[in-house]
Symmetry: C2
Subunit: 203 residues, 2 copies
C-alpha cells in the first residue's frame, strides 16, 4: 500500500535521531507532493552535505577550500584573530553556531559529539581530547582557559567532570558557562535549580 | 560561519511545513556527520520520491507501473475487490495509510489535501471533488456512501460542511467517522468534547 520509494525514504530517514518514523512518513509524502524539479533540488542539497569534512584541529564540519586544502583547518582554527589557547569544548556543531551568535567568545572550539547521560566518554571522544592536549602542549605548553560548554543540568555536570579529569594539567583554568536567570525571565517563574544557580552565581 | 552546503540545506528544508529552521539545522549537521556513502544513499532515497505520480482518480501518490501506465490508477482505484462507489474523502496520503491499517474500509479514497482552518476549499480541492462527482455520475449515477474522514474537531466539522455542500446529490449517504472514547481510554480522563461525543454516539 505504501509506495516503495516512500517506504525506503522512511526506513532510512527514521534512523536519524532527530526524525521519528511518524515525521519521516509525513516528510516523505510532503516531498513526494512537490514537483520533480524541487525534489531534485532537495536531493542535491542533501547530497552536497557529503562535501563537508572535519577540521583536523577541532573536528567541526566545514567546507574544504582547495587553497587551504593542505591545512585541513576550519576558518576558526586557521586564524590568528582568535585566541588559539582558549578553547570551548562543545558537544555539537550547532552549539558552536549558538556561541558564535553571541560574538562574546574569541577563542576556538573542540567539538566532541554527544556524550552519554552517565557522562562516560567514548574512545573517539577521549581521542579528541587527547588530540587537543597534544596540540596545546606543542603550541602553548598549556591552555590559558578551557570552557566546558556543556548543558546546564546535572547530566551536563557529570559530563563536565569526566572531561575535566581527562584535562588534568592542560589548562590554567577550566571553567563552565555561567548559570543564572535567562534574559527576560521572571524570578517568580524561575524553577528552583535556575534560581538556585542565580543566587550562587550572583554578582 | 555556517558552511554553505549546510545553509543551503536549511534554507530549502526549513520551507517544508513539517520541519522548522531549528530541526532542519540539526538534521543538516546530523547528515553531514555521516559517511559519504550513507549521504549518497539518503540523497538517492529522496530523489526517488520524484518517481511517484498522482492517481488520476483519487490523487494519492503512487509508484507508476509501466504495465498499467495507460490507466494512471493506483492499486486501490484499479481493483474490483474494492467498492468503487464507497468513497472516503481524506486530507492526506498518510490518512489513507492509517485507514488501511484498520482493514475495516473496503471502499476507495479521494485525497484532497489539507483544508484551511476556516473550511474554505481551494480551487484545486473543488476541482478534485468535481472530478469525483463526474466519475460517480458516469459509473454509478451516485455513490452509495461518501465518508468525510476529517479530523474530529470543530475545524473538521467546518471543513466537512464545506465538502458536503459541494457533494449535494452525489451520494445516497454522506457520513463522518464516529466520535467517542478512544480504545484503552478512561472515562474519568476523557475531555468534555470526547465524552460528549461518546454520549451522543452511544450504541
Amino acid at each position: 500500500m505504501i509506495p516503495e520509494p516512500i517506504q525506503r525514504f522512511i526506513e532510512l530517514f527514521s534512523k536519524l535521531p532527530s526524525l521519528g518514523p511518524r515525521q519521516a512518513t509525513r516528510l516523505a509524502f510532503l516531498i513526494a507532493g512537490k514537483g520533480k524539479a524541487e525534489i531534485r533540488e532537495l536531493a542535491a542539497a542533501l547530497a552536497s552535505l557529503g562535501a563537508l569534512t572535519s577540521c583536523a584541529e577541532c573536528f567541526a564540519r566545514y567546507t574544504p577550500h582547495t587553497s587551504h586544502a593542505a591545512q585541513n583547518l576550519c576558518s576558526i582554527c586557521n586564524t590568528s584573530d582568535r585566541a588559539q589557547n582558549v578553547v570551548a569544548i562543545i558537544e555539537r556543531d550547532t552549539d558552536r553556531i549558538a556561541m558564535e551568535g553571541t560574538k562574546k567568545f574569541r577563542g576556538r572550539y573542540l567539538v566532541i559529539g554527544e556524550i552519554g547521560r552517565a557522562g562516560i566518554l567514548s574512545p573517539d571522544q577521549k581521542m579528541r581530547i587527547q588530540h587537543l592536549k597534544n596540540s596545546l602542549v606543542k603550541r602553548f605548553g598549556k591552555a590559558e582557559e578551557i570552557i566546558l560548554a556543556l548543558n546546564p543540568s546535572s547530566i551536563g555536570d557529570l559530563q563536565a567532570e569526566s572531561i575535566a579529569k581527562e584535562l588534568t594539567g592542560s589548562a590554567s583554568r577550566v571553567t563552565r558557562l555561567g548559570r543564572g536567570l535567562p534574559a527576560g525571565g521572571e524570578i517568580e517563574f524561575a524553577d528552583e535549580d535556575t534560581l538556585g544557580g542565580a543566587i550562587e552565581n550572583r554578582r
